[in-house]
Every structure is written in structure tokens, then in C-alpha cells.
């Protein structure tokens, strides 16, 4: 039995498509409309409002919280200032990624950790020797992701505070609908965007105020399908799709290190001991076997392929996540794990894991494509990630 998010009353009334899915034990809207376009374009051209309450949250408190989180994370957390958020991943002893998410420093000794999967067992297991408490607070807060170019203006209007000065990955408290909320400049769309954190019992007035005041700015309630298109355009990973959580893998071959999933940039090796340090150091010296890349799948080749079958080219209207093998000639050299047609860029994009040597930008490989139940390959090119990266995301 899935739970209802604190915004369920509102989202359920609006979800005329009845398209729902399960997200971390909650009912979550895939799309309010039967197609994803309106919600997608709200994210890119106005503002989309997404109920992100199911996001798994842990509050970590205590005098050793900074040291504890630093030991757990591949990057330093003790240097994180109050009011800042950091994107991070966590690995096991052998340097295999368990999960990725954010850590926000709420206060001197208080942090909020968000993860893709439930990780309380792991947070608890590593508490030994540290004066910290870990509490799951997922159900306690409603979270709204307000993402898109007009998100800053909307939030400034409803809070009566100029939030355009809030730096990327910054966190501040504010008043919204006469309630205390936290606003972080974070998101999963790769655009200008914010997340609003409110105690569950105050959730509905916050939603109502945003929807009412946001109308003038083109606010649109958006679901997970639109989010998926934007996160691929932004080149963001999805746990369970683009990589697998190590403790949930059945075989070692399914596990990945941060270097192998494009998160090597965040690994800070030379500091106090942290979990996985030795393994990651060794991998850095040795070089990784796999790399995560962005692919631009040839549209002209796809068109030609369909034409051979006497068909017009056809693409799903939303993102796909059924992995497709990648080839160099006959040799399989990896797999594309998720992809989408980018309505903004007008390109056919995919996130992929490839063997070492195939990760350089410009490398041409082939991706399996099925047309009329027949397998074919069409060319794809390794390109820079993120695919879509507007100035306003960080500025």
C-alpha cells in the first residue's frame, strides 16, 4: 500500500490522466495530462511544480555529524557551510557506489541527507564511534520542486523575499503562505530551479499559494515523465537505471565506482580516511574500466532505417530506460541506459556506459535499435554532458 504525499489532495484532483507510479512507497504522478509536452515545456519555458515529497530524507544531528558524514561520503562534508547543499555519492569499502543524493547543512550540527533508495541501514551501521543521531524524516516534510526560468520570480513573489540572490546549491529559510519553509536552489532538471521544504501539516496552503500566485508566471503542475526528459537533457544519473546500488547487486559486474559513472570529479582522496578511500585511490591510479558518456544518436540514420521499412520515423514521446547494447563493429562495448528525444535541442540523446577508450568526445559507436521487431544498429557519437546547460542554471 503506497502512502499519500502531503500534497495528494491537490495532485489527485489535477491528475486527470490517472497516470501514476510508485516512488519510494508513495503514489506519484507520471503526468497530469496524457502527454508530457505541456509539463516539459513548463520546466523549460516557465515553471513546473513537481511534488517531490517521496524523496528519501534523513536528518543527521550531533557534534560528530560533520566528521561522520565526511567519513561516509566521497567528498568532504566538514567544510560545507551552514546554508549550503552539496551533491554527493556514497561508496562501500570496495569503492562501489551505494547511492547518490544531496547533503544540506541546516545548522552547526544538523544536516539533511537525501538518497535515491532507503539507506538507513547503512547510515546506522556506520554510526558506531560517532556522537550522532540519524532519523528518517521522509514523511515529515512535503517537498515541492519548482523548476524553470520563472521559478525564481514566483518564489520571490510568494515569499516576499528576493530569492534571486540565493546562490546555486544555497539554502535559506523563508515564509510562504504564513508558514516557515526552507528553500534550496537545487533540482533535477538542469535549469534554474528551487526546492521548497515544508512541514507536512502545512503542505496544502503552500501548494495553493504557489499555484495561485504562479498562474501569472505560467506555473504548471508537472509529473515524473517530464522530469525524466529534463534530467536526461541535464545529463543527470538515475540510480537503478543508469547505475546500480552496490549492496543491491547480485554480481560484482553490476557495481560501479564513482569514476565509472561520471562522478569522479567529486571524489576527494587526500584527506582524513573515508569509506572506500583505498579502493578509489587504487582505481584512480589504475584507471577505470568503464565510463559514463552522453550519446547523440544519429537522427538521419534512424530516419533512413525507418524508410527502409517503408515507415515514417517514430520515437517515444517520453524518455526510455530499457538498456540498449552499444557496439564497435561486432564488439559490444557497453550499453545505453536511458535516453530521450530532446524537444528543446531537437536531438536524440542517451546516457551510456562504455568501456575505457570509447569515452572521448567525438568517438563514433553504434547503438542497437529495433524497427519492426528487427534488430539494427545506427551510429551514435559521444558528446559533452550536460546536453542542455543554460546560463540561468547556476547564475
Amino acid at each position: 500500500m503506497s502512502r499519500h504525499s502531503p500534497f495528494h489532495e491537490r495532485t489527485a484532483a489535477l491528475c486527470t490522466s490517472y497516470r501514476w507510479k510508485e516512488w519510494a512507497g508513495y503514489h506519484a504522478v507520471c503526468s497530469y495530462d496524457t502527454s508530457v509536452e505541456r509539463e516539459y515545456f513548463a520546466f523549460r519555458h516557465a515553471a513546473g511544480l513537481l511534488d517531490a515529497s517521496p524523496l528519501i530524507k534523513y536528518d543527521v544531528r550531533g557534534p560528530d555529524a560533520a566528521a561522520y558524514l565526511s567519513r561516509l561520503s566521497v567528498r568532504r562534508i566538514d567544510k560545507l557551510a551552514v546554508g549550503r547543499v552539496v551533491y554527493c555519492c556514497w561508496v562501500d569499502d570496495r569503492g562501489h557506489v551505494i547511492d547518490d543524493g544531496t547533503i544540506a547543512r541546516l545548522d552547526e550540527d544538523a544536516y539533511r541527507v537525501t538518497t535515491g533508495e532507503p539507506e538507513l541501514w547503512w547510515l546506522e551501521q556506520n554510526r558506531r564511534g560517532y556522537d550522532v543521531s540519524v532519523e528518517e524524516t521522509t514523511h515529515r516534510y512535503g517537498v515541492l520542486a519548482l523548476q524553470g526560468p520563472s521559478s525564481g520570480a514566483i518564489l520571490s513573489a510568494v515569499t516576499g523575499t528576493d530569492l534571486t540572490g540565493l546562490r546555486y546549491f544555497g539554502l535559506t529559510s523563508a515564509r510562504l503562505a504564513d508558514r516557515d519553509v526552507l528553500v534550496s536552489r537545487t533540482g533535477y532538471t538542469g535549469d534554474l530551479g528551487y526546492e521548497v521544504w515544508v512541514e507536512a501539516e502545512h503542505a496544502l496552503p503552500v501548494w495553493d499559494t504557489l499555484m495561485t500566485e504562479g498562474r501569472a508566471y505560467g506555473i504548471v503542475p508537472a509529473g515524473l515523465d517530464a522530469l525524466d526528459v529534463t534530467r536526461i537533457e541535464a545529463g543527470y544519473l538515475l540510480l537503478g537505471i543508469d547505475y546500480k546500488s552496490a549492496p543491491r547487486c547480485l554480481i560484482d559486474a553490476q557495481k560501479s565506482s564513482p569514476y565509472e559513472i561520471g562522478l569522479g570529479w567529486m571524489v576527494q582522496l587526500d584527506r582524513e580516511p573515508f569509506i572506500g578511500q583505498a579502493a578509489l585511490r587504487a582505481e584512480k591510479e589504475r584507471g577505470s574500466e568503464w565510463a559514463l558518456v552522453g550519446l547523440d544518436v544519429s537522427w538521419t540514420a534512424l530516419e533512413a532505417l525507418y524508410e527502409r521499412h517503408g515507415l515514417p520515423p517514430s520515437l517515444a514521446t517520453h524518455a526510455w530506460r530499457t538498456a540498449a547494447p552499444l557496439y564497435d563493429g561486432k564488439r559490444q562495448i557497453g550499453q545505453a541506459t536511458s535516453g530521450t528525444w530532446s524537444p528543446t535541442l531537437k536531438r536524440n540523446l542517451a546516457l551510456a556506459t562504455v568501456r575505457r577508450g570509447y569515452d572521448r568526445v567525438g568517438t563514433r559507436i553504434e547503438i542497437e535499435t529495433t524497427v519492426e521487431y528487427r534488430r539494427h544498429t545506427i551510429p551514435a557519437t559521444v558528446v559533452d554532458r550536460p546536453f542542455f546547460d543554460p546560463e540561468r542554471r547556476r547564475s
Binding site: 567519513r71 562501500d92 569499502d93 551501521q125 556506520n126 558506531r128 564511534g129 560517532y130 580516511p273 573515508f274
Partner: protein, 509 residues
């Protein structure tokens, strides 16, 4: 190879390890937290003028191989030549006088339970036939079944071959009985309930088992098959000779020197920081503290692998033996049999043992504890004022995690139950008590730094012995931390005054 080695812990294993290393030319500093050496083998003061020569009773498991290697006879070690006897106390009859001398034992059984004489001889013959296998396992590092090395494979084959050479019948018998409970196995042999209770009870020391617990036959075999001659003067005398040996070899011994933590750098030992703030640089540390103390207290959590730490934390180390010491104004007289006996034991039926064990499952003190009683002042009259005596009692069972905690009242309850139980066989006892000392498992933890107050640094059990002791990746004394060797009772072959873990660990370094 002359760089300095720090040995942590001045118990029998620490001293053995330090002496072994120093005799191999290493420069050794031994650090002991307490003011005196010996740990569980150290003399313990009961009251002014009264002391016991060690918290553990038995020295007859100290391995002759270790004594020979260290030439302890040159440092004052003397074996007792008289057979070890132990009186099984009985309220009604004459009890049973166990003896390590087989003729004496057969004669005793002839009196006590004639139908058990033949089975006794048969059992002894069986034990003799497998003794060399157990001794060999005991005196050498455990097999390493997961290691892919030719040398290790050959060692395993040799051990396997020796085992196979026992003959099919004996080999299968060993495999059959190893996972059995001791009560079932003894029932196959003997009739006398009292005899079975007396034979069974040593299997329970250092375990979390009753006589009906699976696997207790293995702990029984390990105990029984590694017994030899005792050390004259008891544990304290053993510690004395080890200390002299270590000093003669040049070990620098520092007592009253608690270690705060090990300093590590990139997973390697770099030094030792003392509670005093002093640091000693070294690349090699041999720790004889128990596994949980070594890895979870002396090493900072950040320096340890997550999975490894979790396995160490899961090592079962639930103390359930209490020590009760009595100072008496006269001898400890018993109604079972005339005369003075240095060793006595209660428990006339296996059910008595099991019932006593039942209590700890529910975090209670046994109503009638099973007592292993030692009157060391019979051998060494200097332990008490003239004419007076001291009694050392290992009382089973008293759980570490007693419901309601180890309050003063709980200690009094335990002391009363022990004295009441003993007084059933020694009516004059209570009038002679000059002083009484009760050490619960919690006290033993506080006094000696034993995790869970466990006398054997972790329970003996099928999954916590040999290459699984304390956990598989440090069962061969080397640990995931470069430069750190472990060599306390947490390691193969386990607890008790054997000297073997320290000896084998030193050899591994």
C-alpha cells in the same frame, strides 16, 4: 628486522608474544594498562592479607610447546607432578573424585558406578587416538581454506591426511560428535548422572551454552584434549616465569600505561598514542586485547573498513561467568568426603547445569549457580594469614546484560546464591567468611577491559573457532591493517591460559 614492536596487553598472551619476539631479536615494548602484569592470570587481592593467584583457575592447558620454545623452566616454571583431582560435591553420597590419573579414576568409578568403568576406558582410548590431531590444530595457526596458495594447500592436505589416517571409524566418529551437544554424547557412554554432570561442565566455560546446546561436544574436546600438567603455584607463578623470560630477553615492560588509540596512516600502523598523551612511533603492533577492544576502541572508526568493523562488532562476547572470592578464617570443610580438596565442583546432574544456564537466556542470575571451586591456599599458604584460607569460585551463570543492570543489590544476590549453594556442601562455611568479593561480568569488563566481561575474549562456538576466530580475515593473526597483528584469546586457539595465541601471533610477525 630490528625495528621496534609494541605489544599491547600484559596478560599471558602478551607476555608470551613479547618474549617470543624479543628472543627472535626484535626490540619489544610491552604496554599494560593495569599496574600489574598477568591479566586474568594475575594475582587478585580479596581483602587486606588475602589474595588469589589468578582469576582463571586452570594452568594445565598452558601448552608445553610454548614453555619449551621460551625455555620457561629456566625462568622458574615448574610443572606439578601430582595428578589433578577434583571433587564432585554431593549432598547425599560420597560424590565423585575426578582424577587425571586413569588408574585412580577407574578405581573411583569402580566404587561409584561400576558399569561406567569400561566406557571410561573406551572413551579415554578414543581421546588418545585423536589427541595428536587436536594438539596439532591447537599448536599451529588455523587452516586457511580460502587462501589460494600452494603452501597452504599442502598444509591443508597434510592435516587432512593425518585426519584420514585415524581410520574411517574414528574419523567418522569425530565428524559425528563435533556438532553434538555434550549431554547427548556423554549419555551414549555413561550411566552415572553425577559423573556426566562433572564431565560436561568444563565444556561450558567460555561459551554461551548449556549441556544441551549443539556444538558443546567440540568445546568439550578442545578443553579436555589440551589438558596436561598444571603449573606449580597456579596462574600467578606462570605469569612470573613469563615475565622473567620476557625481561631476560630484553623486553621493556611498562605497566600502568593504557593505550588511547593506534595511529594509522593510509591503512598502516604509524604509532601508538597513550592515555598520557605520549606517542610511540612504530610500524608494528601486536595487540592481545580482545577483538572488539582492539578494532572498535583502539582504532578510530574512520580507519576501519565498514564490513570488517561490522563483522567484529558481531563477534559474540557475552560474559556469563562471575567470580566470587571468599576469605575464610579456617579451612573449607565439606560434608561429601573427609579431607581438604583443592578443587571442587557442584552440579550433580546435567539438568542442574542446564537449569543454571536457562537463567541467562532471560538475563537472570542462576538460582543455583554451578560452582568451580578452588582453594589455592592449600598449595600456597602465603595467600592468607596463617590458618586462614582463600576460596576462588567461578560461578556459572551470571549474564553480562543482567536485567536491571549490575547494581550493588544484584552483586549481593549473586554472592548470596553462590555462598548458599556452596554451604549446602559445607555447612560451616558462612561462619568462617571474613571477606567476600563478587566480580560480575560487568566488573570484569571494567577491571580488565574484557568486552562483555567475557573471560575468553569471545565465546567458543563452532562459528567462532579456528579460521573463523575472531573473524576469517584476521584469524591468521594478520589484520586488514598493515603492521597490526592480533594475538589475544580472541584468536585461534582461543581463551584460557594456553599462551598459544600470543605465541603464534608473534611467529606470524
Amino acid at each position: 628486522m630490528s625495528e621496534k614492536v609494541i605489544v599491547i596487553g600484559g596478560g599471558h598472551n602478551g607476555l608470551t608474544a613479547a618474549a617470543t619476539l624479543a628472543r627472535h631479536g626484535r626490540s619489544v615494548v610491552l604496554l599494560e594498562k593495569r599496574s600489574g602484569l598477568g591479566g586474568l592470570a594475575a594475582p587478585f587481592e580479596i581483602a587486606d592479607g588475602y589474595r588469589v593467584p589468578g582469576l582463571l583457575h586452570d594452568t594445565d592447558r598452558f601448552r608445553p610447546a610454548v614453555a619449551r620454545a621460551l625455555e620457561l623452566h629456566q625462568h622458574g616454571l615448574q610443572w606439578r607432578e601430582t595428578p589433578r583431582t577434583e571433587l564432585g560435591l554431593s549432598a547425599k553420597g560420597r560424590g565423585v573424585l575426578l582424577s587425571s590419573n586413569r588408574e585412580a579414576m577407574a578405581q573411583e568409578l569402580q566404587q561409584h558406578s561400576p558399569s561406567d568403568v569400561q566406557p571410561y576406558h573406551r572413551l579415554m582410548t578414543f581421546l588418545d587416538s585423536i589427541r595428536h590431531i587436536v594438539e596439532d590444530l591447537f599448536d599451529s595457526p588455523p587452516p586457511a581454506p580460502a587462501k589460494r596458495e600452494l603452501g597452504e594447500a599442502i598444509k591443508m592436505l597434510k592435516k587432512g591426511w593425518a585426519f584420514r589416517r585415524l581410520g574411517a571409524e574414528t574419523m567418522i566418529e569425530v565428524l559425528r560428535i563435533a556438532p553434538m551437544c555434550i549431554a547427548d554424547w556423554l549419555n551414549e557412554h555413561f550411566e552415572s548422572a553425577h559423573l556426566k554432570a562433572l564431565l560436561a561442565s568444563p565444556a561450558l566455560l567460555g561459551t554461551w551454552m548449556g549441556p544441551w546446546s549443539a556444538g558443546s561436544t567440540t568445546t568439550w574436546l578442545l578443553d579436555e584434549l589440551t589438558r596436561g600438567r598444571a603449573v606449580a603455584g597456579g596462574p600467578a607463578a606462570l605469569v612470573d616465569s613469563l615475565r622473567r623470560c620476557a625481561e631476560a630477553a630484553g623486553v621493556e615492560i611498562r605497566t600502568g600505561c593504557p593505550v588511547r588509540h593506534l595511529q594509522l596512516e593510509n591503512g598502516r600502523v604509524r604509532g601508538v598514542e597513550l592515555e598520557s598523551g605520549e606517542t610511540i612511533e612504530t610500524a608494528s603492533v601486536l595487540a592481545t586485547t580482545d577483538a572488539q577492544t582492539t578494532f572498535l576502541e583502539l582504532i578510530r572508526p574512520a580507519d576501519l573498513g565498514v564490513e570488517f568493523a561490522e563483522r567484529i562488532a558481531n563477534v559474540r562476547s557475552r560474559g556469563l561467568v562471575a567470580k566470587v572470592h571468599l576469605a575464610l578464617s579456617g579451612p573449607l570443610e565439606n560434608t561429601t568426603r573427609p579431607g581438604s580438596f583443592e578443587r571442587m565442583r557442584t552440579g550433580e546432574h546435567v539438568d542442574d547445569l542446564e537449569r543454571a544456564f536457562d537463567a541467562v537466556k532471560y538475563r537472570q542470575i542462576s538460582e543455583r549457580p554451578i560452582l568451580d571451586v578452588w582453594v589455592p591456599s592449600l598449595e600456597d599458604s602465603s595467600l592468607a594469614p596463617k590458618g586462614h584460607h582463600v576460596v576462588s569460585i567461578l560461578a556459572q551463570f551470571a549474564p553480562y546484560d543482567l536485567e536491571g543492570g549490575w547494581t550493588d543489590a544484584a552483586r549481593v544476590t549473586l554472592g548470596d546464591r553462590v555462598v548458599d549453594t556452596l554451604a549446602e556442601y559445607a555447612p560451616g562455611l558462612k561462619k568462617r567468611i571474613v571477606a567476600r568479593q563478587v566480580l560480575s561480568p560487568a566488573d570484569l569488563e571494567g577491571e580488565l577491559g574484557l568486552t562483555g566481561g567475557h573471560l575468553y575474549h569471545g565465546e567458543h562456538a563452532l562459528d567462532q573457532l579456528a579460521f573463523l576466530r575472531p573473524v576469517f580475515d584476521c584469524a591468521h593473526y594478520r589484520t586488514p591493517i598493515e603492521g597490526l597483528i592480533v594475538g589475544g584469546s580472541s584468536c585461534h586457539p582461543g581463551g584460557g591460559l594456553t599462551g598459544v595465541p600470543g605465541w603464534l601471533a608473534a611467529k606470524a610477525l
